[in-house]
Subunit: 285 residues, 2 copies
């Protein structure tokens, strides 16, 4: 596996692969890799001739009071894991390499962002689409892989690609979970021992909500209420939001119908956890 | 020459060229082709295996009181001219094909735009970078060709490409002129007979300004004043602006030094004309 730190080296790698007629798969990450990231890499490995993984904690997508500085990092361990997962080129740029000068053009997400995590994280998705645009232009992937745990991020990137005609197919990969159902996340390391025991109830609550919707509950409010009350009873965390929206448009629904996401965020003492279920309810004909 | 109206057909053309290992040159235009556009196409023809020209009057880059509706169009004539210039694929989409839905992501030009034409045309360059981004993603050119008559547009696209790491080399092509020096422009058809006689003084005034700078005038204000007074005396038009800025950064200068653009815009009764000279003054060592 090649490990490159500069844009110039990455371009050399990409040029050689393109000249060889190879299909490229890109796995953008912020590092501190867990099984969720590795599942993306393994899927990319199966689908493509060459796999590029990027590790870049993107300052542009962190708010001033968020955890940019203390976001967990372990490049040495990540390098071993990426190599073992079949990555061909690991791109690990410094901030100055990605943002050498103030940007002449800024990107703003105009939809799919005034709900779920977007409400509490103004500018977050602007930073996401900017770095994803830069990575797409640098790596020129045929396919790019994103985890569906970040359901809103995937919806926003779907909007980015469609609105601006990127020649990239984006692939959403199912969330990888611990045995007890807790979604794998780099931020799980922030949980206390007790919180770690309670955290799986986040997914259980969502399953309960989806179950009621699939079994015929038509009121979005009732699905949401059921999910919230189960969370409050079992998860031991402050509920930030529970939302049921169309997917990937993330529009409010008059009733339970079509392709939807039931999503939640909860706050533990030092960790904000998110999870979701994307599902379908199709009524009659 | 292939004439295509849909994104899907253009993608098919691009895919076939890419699979053949061909280099692609893109010439984005708003049509009503003149020798300036054809010079771009001929340069693209020399440099590349395949030449794509787009003709699209982009509503996003016109202000509410600008000439979007009455902007001159003649696709039949353009098609013949493009074929004769060696274009391989002419992309002529309808507005709905380029903007089928409200964009999830918007692009804003954050620099190089609060001067020259950008002052009077708020949002204009936002529309330019959006459509150029879409065309770059659709045509996937190795090189893209733009006329230097729109010096600010070229500077903004230079900023777009560098800030967002587009894998495209942009080529600025010298302005093509009538025998009397008037820059070719689709908007020249708006000139009255008398105005057509006066219009070449726009370029003459800029030449005079540049001459004084090259001959040792260090004061940017004096270079600008000289250009304005010559314009006022001879061009028979209302002077919108004359500016002398660094190029391509378009920053104000303390004194005449380095790579610069001397640019002007004037208003005739029904036509706003622009012109510029990009030049160098390098002092000592």
């Amino acid at each position: 596996m090649k490990v490159v730190k500069t844009v110039a080296e990455l371009k050399d790698f990409v040029r050689a692969e393109k000249n060889a007629g190879h299909q490229i798969g890109l796995v953008p990450t912020m590092g501190f890799l867990h099984e969720g990231h590795l599942a993306l890499a393994e899927k990319a490995r199966k689908d493509n001739d060459a796999v590029i993984m990027s590790i870049f904690v993107n300052p542009l997508q962190f708010g001033p009071n968020e955890d940019f500085e203390r976001y967990p990092r372990d490049v040495e361990r990540d390098t071993k894991l990426a190599a073992a997962a079949g990555v061909d080129c690991l791109f690990v740029p410094e901030v100055e390499e990605m943002y050498p000068a103030p940007s002449v053009v800024t990107m703003t997400v105009a939809a799919r962002t005034d709900k779920m995590c977007g409400v509490k994280r103004p500018g977050h998705f602007d930073g996401v689409v900017t770095v994803v645009t830069k990575l797409f232009h640098l790596a020129q992937p045929d396919k790019a892989y994103f985890g569906l745990k970040d359901a809103q991020q995937f919806a926003v990137i779907d909007g980015l690609v469609n609105s601006l005609n990127f020649p990239v197919e984006i692939i959403g990969v199912e969330t990888i979970r611990e045995e007890d159902g807790l979604a794998k996340s780099s931020r799980n390391v922030y949980l206390t021992e007790e919180e770690r025991i309670q955290a799986p109830y986040l997914q259980k609550a969502l399953q309960l909500g989806v179950q009621s919707a699939v079994q015929g509950e038509k009121s979005t409010e009732k699905v949401i209420e059921r999910t919230i009350s189960y969370l409050q009873e079992h998860a031991g965390a402050a509920v930030d939001y529970v939302e049921l929206l169309s997917y990937p448009e993330l529009e409010p629904l008059e009733q339970v119908q079509g392709k939807m996401v039931l999503a939640a965020a909860v706050n533990y003492s030092k960790a904000r956890l998110i999870d979701n279920i994307i599902f379908n309810v199709n009524e009659g004909r």
